[in-house]
């Protein structure tokens, strides 16, 4: 009886250990739809940007989960939430996200445009090797993953440039002091899409799914885990 109990306990500990290791290896993608209760965003047709980006983010989540069931996708907000400054960055860092994508929309009736932005400043990162605990200024948190951010953004740009070659313009990744990406430790980039209306926004988002698929696939296969 005692031996049975010990065997069951050992099996339980072993399975817990396996599950915890799998949980640690889960790839987490954070999608940040632009806007909140304080900033309704730009006007697109008869909607505000914040409502449309949330719909597009939910669509993106559903489509990517269908392709990558093992992927954990988290949205930074729900309708009616009022995030405090840098709340999204704090949230993404706390949950150990592996990739952060900020999604923005604006209205343009002419050519379809996709712009990709990264967070970048003049300063160079100099990690302190002498002390394990140190404060990092908010505008330098991104720097250890800046190279990967740039790589993913460039890969996405290459994909979209082929997809939208005939129907639109894709702007090369540009590093600026981009506020929604400030303070995020994992690789992060922002996408701004020009759309005519809601239907166009969802159509553009589905094209984005195909381009993001390759970026995420590469991130998963290179075991880019936290």
């Amino acid at each position: 009886m005692q031996i049975k109990f010990i065997v069951i306990a050992l099996l339980g500990i072993f399975s817990f250990d396996v599950c915890s290791k799998q949980a640690k290896q889960t790839f987490t993608l954070v999608i940040d739809p632009a806007g909140d209760t304080q900033y309704h965003g730009r006007i697109i047709g008869n909607q505000f940007e914040r409502n449309l980006t949330l719909e597009c983010a939910e669509f993106l989540k559903k489509e990517l989960n269908a392709i990558f069931p093992e992927l954990r996708i988290v949205l930074t907000r729900f309708p009616g939430e009022t995030p405090t400054p840098f709340k999204n960055a704090s949230f993404a860092n706390k949950i150990g996200s592996n990739l952060f994508i900020s999604l923005m929309l604006y209205q343009q009736q002419e050519t379809r445009t996709v712009a990709i932005y990264l967070f970048g400043t003049q300063d160079t990162y100099q990690p302190s090797a002498s002390t394990p605990l140190h404060f990092t200024p908010l505008y330098k948190v991104h720097q250890p993953s800046a190279a990967r951010s740039k790589h993913y953004a460039q890969q996405l740009y290459d994909q979209l440039a082929v997809t939208l070659k005939k129907t639109g313009i894709v702007r090369a990744p540009l590093a600026v002091a981009f506020a929604p990406l400030e303070g995020i430790a994992c690789p992060a980039f922002a996408l701004e899409l020009s759309v005519k209306n809601k239907h166009d926004a969802l159509s553009m988002t589905s094209e984005l799914v195909n381009a993001l698929k390759d970026v995420i696939d590469q991130a998963l296969t290179t075991q880019d885990h936290a």
Partner: protein, 175 residues
């Protein structure tokens, strides 16, 4: 007694009206102030040809302009920015008339430019449109020869507030 109250009410009303007129600058009382004499350096200026950069038709273009260039670098920065803003408004790159109220260059070569209002249309413009406005002004400042490494953009002496771009950080001037 009744006459006393009436007089008091009239004096109070008169004082109130006078204070209102003073507050609204309808009546101005000019006190004698110390006289200032402008130093020779602050009014010295020379003619300078400097390019102004604008983003038009999906490409950068420059317009060489003759400027009356003050010798004081702070005034020069202010003058250059106002000139750029005036031309940008003429070219309809800005949809409202914006002016620089203060400009200053710090000893560590950082420029501080304070506008009277935000040059952006927050609920209409794309991020790219905002960036090219700021970048055009920045390139013009760089091309002018002023010794500045970065620019802080402000409105009414506070960092320019924008949802997409963080102006609490210096906008870099690429060498």
């Amino acid at each position: 007694m009744k006459r006393w109250y009436t007089s008091l009410a009239l004096i109070g009303a008169g004082a109130g009206i006078f204070y209102y007129l003073l507050h609204q600058h309808i009546i101005v009382i000019a006190f004698s102030s110390p006289s200032y004499t402008q130093t020779q350096a602050s009014i010295q200026a020379s003619k300078k040809r400097s390019p102004l950069f604008f983003y038009k038709n999906d490409s950068w273009c420059q317009e060489a302009t003759d400027l009356v260039w003050p010798h004081d670098p702070h005034e020069a920065l202010s003058y250059l920015c106002n000139r750029w803003l005036a031309v940008a408004a003429e070219e309809e790159l800005l949809h409202k008339k914006v002016t620089v109220t203060h400009a200053f260059i710090s000893p560590d070569k950082k420029g501080y430019i304070s506008f009277d209002q935000s040059p952006f249309e927050p609920y209409e413009q794309s991020i790219h449109q905002k960036i090219v406005v700021i970048e055009g002004l920045t390139r013009s400042v760089q091309a002018s020869g002023l010794e500045i490494d970065g620019l802080y953009y402000m409105v009414n002496d506070k960092p320019l507030s924008d949802y997409h771009l963080d102006f609490a950080l210096a906008w870099p001037i690429k060498k």
